[in-house]
Amino acid sequence: MQKVYTKIESISGNVITVLAEGVRNGDLAVVSSRHGASLANIIRLKENVVSLQVFAGGRGVSTGDEVRFLGHPMQVSYTENLMGRVFDGSGKPRDAGPVLDENMIDIGGPSVNPAKRIVPKNMIRTGIPMIDVFNTLVESQKLPIFSVSGEPYNELLARIAMQAEVDIIVLGGMGLKYDDYLFFREELETSGAMNRAVFFVHTASDPTVECLLVPDISLAVAEQFALEGKKVLVLLTDMTNFADAMKEIAITMDQVPSNRGYPGDLYSSLAARYEKAVDFEGAGSVTILAVTTMPGDDVTHPVPDNTGYITEGQYYLKNGRIEPFGSLSRLKQQVNKETRDDHRSLMDGMIKLYASYKESMEKKSMGFQMSDWDIKLLKYGEMFEQQMMELTVNIPLEEALNLGWEILSSCFSPEESGMKTSLVMKYWPGKDKEDK
C-alpha cells in the first residue's frame, strides 16, 4: 500500500492519528517529518481514524507530515549476519554496519503449544557458586535478577553471558545508560564473545516506543535461532523500564490504570515475553535472564510482583551478592540430582547452617551471650560470605562443591555439619587418609 496521507488529525505524546482506509491492525507506517523519518505502528482503529505510535516519538511531528503505510507488521531481519552487530529498538543499526533487510520475520509471534513443550533437563554452568551450587540455572528457564538500582546487575549479566556455555547471546537493553551499553560491548569484545552475540539496545535517551519493541525483537531473533538448533541465552535489562514504557503509552492512550499507574494487562504483557523461554524438542532452546530493578527495594511493587508470578524463580541481588534467602530457581530439582551425589545435600546443609549463622548474628547484636556453637557459626558465616557469596569468585561447580566441604571441615566436626555419614566418608577433607 503506497498511498501517502498528509493530514495528521491529532498528536498526543507519542501517539498520532490519521484518517485512512483499508489499513490493518498492527501494521507499520513511515512518518516523514523534517526531522527525519520514523517508523510507527497501528495500535487502534476506529472507523477511518487510525492511531499510530511513533517509534521516534511525537516531538516535532507536524500536522502536515507524510504518513505512508507499509502493509506489513513490525519485522526484523534474521540472518547469520546478525552476529556481532548492534541495533536499536526498531532494528536500525547502531554500529557502522549495513542495514539488514533480507529474510524478514514478524516479531511478537504466537505462543508455543503447551503440548509441544518438554521438561527442561540441562544445567547452564556460570562459574558463580551462588548460582551453580545453590540455585542452578537451567536451559529454557526464565529467571529475573531482582535488584535495587546501583547494584552491579549489569556486571553480573555480562559475566554470565561470557561464561555460560551457550551458542548465541542476544542482549536486549531497555533504558540502558549509554555507559552501560558501552560496558557490555567492551566486555563482550574483549572476551571474544561478541562474535556470537547480537545487541538490540534502547538507551535512556532514545524514544520510549522503541523501548517497548526491544523484548519482542530480541526474542523473535532468539526463537528463530533456537528453531535451528542453537542454545540461545537472552539477556534483558531492565524490564522495569519496559513496564514503565508500557505505562507511559497506556496513559497517553487514556487507558484506565490498575495498580500504581500500570495498565491492567501488565501481567499478560510480561508473561507473553517471558513465556518465549522454551526448550524445543529436537531443536534448540531459549533461556531468559532479565534484570528487574525494584523501586525502593520493594518486592511488592507491581513490576517485581507480577514478574515473580510469571518466572521460574528469581535471583535476589543485594549488597553486591546473590542472597541465598529470597533467591530461588524453581527448576534446579530437574538438574541437580545428576551433577554430583553431594550436590543437593551440600546445598541444603550449607544454607541451613547459614540460616543458623544469621540467627547467631542477631543474638550477638542484641547482646546475648555467645555459646561455642555460636562462635563456630560466626566463623562459618564469614567464610561462606567471602569464599562463596562474593561475585568475584569464579570456579566450576565441582570445585565449588569441594570448597563447600573445605569450609565445613574448617569450622565444624562431621557430626555438627549435619551431613549424611555416607557423604562425609566420601568428601570430608582428610577423611579418607584418617580412616586408613
Partner: protein, 576 residues
C-alpha cells in the same frame, strides 16, 4: 447468514456494525483471508456490538466481514472428554500440535470430542417418557459408565422415546435415539451435544447441603480445614509459597471420581509437568493411570487473554456434565486472579467505570456466580453427584486485602491462606493454621481440633513474648505450651509432599496419628527445666517424624510407635 463488518479494533476488542438481531455472548467469526477468528459479543449498543476476540488481532482491518453464528459460546459434551488436554475454548492441544507444529496458529479450531466408537447400552425403550437431563443409555468410558442424556438445552417438558438404538457400537455423532416432544416434533439425539458455558446446568431435582468431607490426604486440610464434597475452597498466597504444589498433590490424591484442572493464565512449564507425570502415575483407587480420570483445560499466561476468561467456564461446565452422571468431580482453578485480570482488561477496553484497583464493579458477583456452580445435587434418578471447586488466588504483593481475595472469601466455604513466613521457613504446606478457616465438618472430633488450635494460638503468643523477654523470662508452663505447639506444627501440620509415604496421609492414618498427637498435647508431663523440656520434645519429634515416613502398619511403623509410646509414658503424669 447474519453478518456484520468491523468498524474498529482496540487490542483484543473489535467493534462491529450489524443489521439483524444478535444476542449477548453470541459467538461470531471475523473473516481474515482464509482464517476465521473466534470472538464473543460482550456488549451491544445501537447498531454497534463490541466483540472480544479470542485470538491476536494483528492484521484485522476496518471493513472486514464478520459472521454471527446465533450460538452462545458453548462446549461439546459427550464421551471422550476424559484424559484430554484442551485450551480455554476446548481445542484439543495435542491434536493441534500434530496439525500446526510448535506454535499455536490462530484461527484453527478442531472438534473437541473425537469421532470414536462407543459400546452403547440403551436404558429406555420405545414409548418411555424422558425429560432433559434424563439418561437414555450408557457407554463405558474408562472406569466410568458414561450416561448418554437428553440434551440439557431442550426446553422443559416431557418427551416420548420414538426410536432407540439397540445395544451395539456407534460413533459419537451417530443418531442413537429420536424423541418426540408434546407438540409432536421429533428430535434426534447423538452422544454429543453442546451447552453454553456461562449458564449453570440445573437439570437436577434439588441442591443439597455439602456434608461429606472430600479427603485430600493433606493433614492440615483434612483435620483442621476440611473441604466438603460439593463445597468450595480457595488458596490465596504470594508467589513461591507453594500454591501450585498443593493443587498438584490435591489433584493426585483427592478422593473424587474426576479431576478437572483449569490452568488459567499460569506458567506453561507447570502444565507440562502434569502432562508428563499424570500418565505415569497410577490412581490408587482404580490402578489405572491418573490421566484417565483427569481433564486439563490449559490457557497459559502467554495465550490470548479473552480465551483465559472463557477457560474457567469451560472447565466448570464439563464438571457439571460429569456431575449429572452421579459422579463426584473436583475442579481446581489455578489461578482465579488471572481470570479476574482478564475481566479487568476487557472492562478497561469497554471503558467501563473502574472499581477498586481498576477491577470492574461486577467482579464480586461474577466470582460469586462461578463458585456457586459448585454443589451437591440429587439427580432425577435419586443418585447424588457433586462439583467441588478449589481456586488459587494470586494477590498482588501477597496482600490479602485486595479485591479478588476479598470477593472470593465472601463466597467460599474454606480458606486455606498461604503465608510467606511459613514458606520462607520451609514449613510446607505453608497454609497458615490460625488465619485460615473452614465452615465444613471434618473427619476428627471438633472438640479435639478446637483444643489443638487453641494450643497453637497460645503457643504463638508465648513465642511472641519470648522474643521480647527471652527464654529466661518465660515460665516453665508457658514454655511447655510453646513446645507442644511447635511439636504439633512440625509433626502434624507440616507434611513432606515429596516423601512417598508422608506425602499422602489416608483418613484412618490421620485419625490414628492425631489421637497420638492429642495424647501429647493434652497430657501434663513431669518436666522440671526448660532444657529438659526442649530435649524431651526434640526426642518426641524425631520419633514422630520417623513414624510419619514409615509405611502404615508395617513392622517398622509398629516398632517406632512402640518406642514413641514408651517415650511418652516416661514423663506423662499417670492421672491424665
Amino acid at each position: 447468514m447474519n453478518t456484520g463488518k468491523v468498524i474498529g479494533i482496540n487490542g483484543n476488542m473489535a467493534t462491529v456494525e450489524f443489521t439483524d438481531n444478535i444476542s449477548l455472548n453470541e459467538v461470531a467469526y471475523i473473516i481474515l483471508g482464509d482464517s476465521r477468528l473466534k470472538a464473543e459479543v460482550i456488549r451491544v449498543n445501537g447498531k454497534e456490538a463490541s466483540l472480544q476476540v479470542f485470538e491476536m488481532t494483528g492484521g484485522i482491518k476496518v471493513g472486514d466481514q464478520v459472521e454471527f453464528t446465533g450460538e452462545l459460546l458453548s462446549v461439546e459434551l459427550g464421551p471422550g472428554l476424559l484424559g484430554q488436554v484442551y485450551d480455554g475454548l476446548q481445542n484439543p492441544l495435542p491434536q493441534l500440535a500434530e496439525k500446526c507444529g510448535f506454535f499455536l496458529q490462530r484461527g484453527v479450531y478442531m472438534n473437541a470430542i473425537p469421532d470414536s466408537s462407543w459400546e452403547f447400552t440403551p436404558s429406555v425403550k420405545k414409548g418411555d417418557i424422558v425429560r432433559p437431563g434424563y439418561s437414555v443409555g450408557t457407554v463405558p468410558e474408562g472406569i466410568f459408565s458414561h450416561r448418554i442424556m437428553v440434551p440439557f438445552g431442550f426446553s422443559d417438558g416431557e418427551y416420548s422415546v420414538k426410536k432407540i438404538a439397540a445395544a451395539g457400537s456407534y460413533t459419537a455423532r451417530e443418531e442413537i435415539a429420536v424423541v418426540t416432544d408434546s407438540s409432536g416434533n421429533d428430535h434426534s439425539l447423538s452422544m454429543v451435544f453442546t451447552w453454553p458455558i456461562k449458564r449453570a446446568v440445573t437439570r437436577y431435582e434439588e441442591r443439597l447441603k455439602p456434608v461429606e468431607p472430600m479427603i485430600t490426604k493433606i493433614r492440615i486440610i483434612d483435620t483442621f480445614l476440611p473441604v466438603a464434597r460439593g463445597g468450595t475452597f480457595c488458596i490465596p498466597g504470594p508467589f513461591g509459597a507453594g500454591k501450585t504444589v498443593i493443587q498438584q498433590t490435591t489433584s493426585r490424591n483427592a478422593d473424587v471420581d474426576i479431576v478437572i484442572i483449569a490452568a488459567c493464565g499460569e506458567r506453561a512449564g507447570e502444565v507440562v509437568e502434569t502432562l508428563i507425570e499424570f500418565p505415569e502415575l497410577t490412581d490408587p483407587r482404580t490402578g489405572k493411570s491418573l490421566m484417565e480420570r483427569t481433564i486439563i483445560i490449559c490457557n497459559t499466561s502467554s495465550m490470548p487473554v479473552a480465551a483465559r476468561e472463557a477457560s474457567v467456564y469451560t472447565a466448570v461446565t464439563i464438571a457439571e456434565y460429569y456431575r449429572q452422571m452421579g459422579l463426584n468431580v473436583l475442579l481446581l482453578a489455578d489461578s482465579t486472579s488471572r481470570w479476574a485480570q482478564a475481566m479487568r482488561e476487557m472492562s478497561g477496553r469497554l471503558e467501563e467505570i473502574p472499581g477498586e484497583e481498576a477491577f470492574p464493579a461486577y467482579l464480586e458477583s461474577v466470582i460469586a456466580n462461578f463458585y456457586e456452580r459448585a454443589g451437591l445435587v440429587r439427580l432425577f434418578d435419586g443418585n447424588t453427584g457433586s462439583v467441588t471447586i478449589g481456586g488459587t488466588v494470586s494477590p498482588a504483593g501477597g496482600n490479602f486485602e485486595e479485591p479478588v481475595t476479598q470477593a472470593t472469601l465472601k463466597v467460599v466455604g474454606a480458606f486455606h491462606g498461604l503465608s510467606r513466613e511459613r514458606s520462607d521457613a520451609r514449613k510446607y504446606p505453608a497454609i497458615h493454621p490460625l488465619e485460615s478457616w473452614s465452615k465444613y465438618t471434618g473427619i476428627i472430633d471438633s472438640k479435639k481440633t478446637t483444643f489443638a488450635r487453641d494450643l497453637l494460638f497460645r503457643g504463638e503468643e508465648v513465642n511472641q513474648m519470648m522474643k521480647v523477654v527471652g527464654e529466661e523470662g518465660t515460665s516453665l508452663d508457658d514454655y511447655i505450651v510453646y513446645q507442644k505447639s511447635e511439636f504439633l506444627d512440625s509433626v502434624y501440620l507440616q507434611q513432606d509432599s515429596f516423601d512417598p509415604v508422608d506425602g499422602s496421609a489416608p483418613i484412618e492414618r490421620q485419625k490414628y496419628t492425631f489421637d497420638l498427637v492429642f495424647t501429647i498435647l493434652h497430657g501434663s508431663f513431669k518436666l522440671s527445666t526448660k532444657q529438659e523440656t526442649r530435649n524431651y520434645f526434640n526426642q518426641l519429634r524425631q520419633r514422630f517424624l520417623d513414624l510419619n515416613s514409615a509405611e502404615w502398619n508395617s513392622d517398622s511403623f509398629k516398632s517406632i510407635e512402640e518406642s514413641l509410646r514408651g517415650k511418652i509414658d516416661e514423663k506423662l503424669k499417670a492421672n491424665e
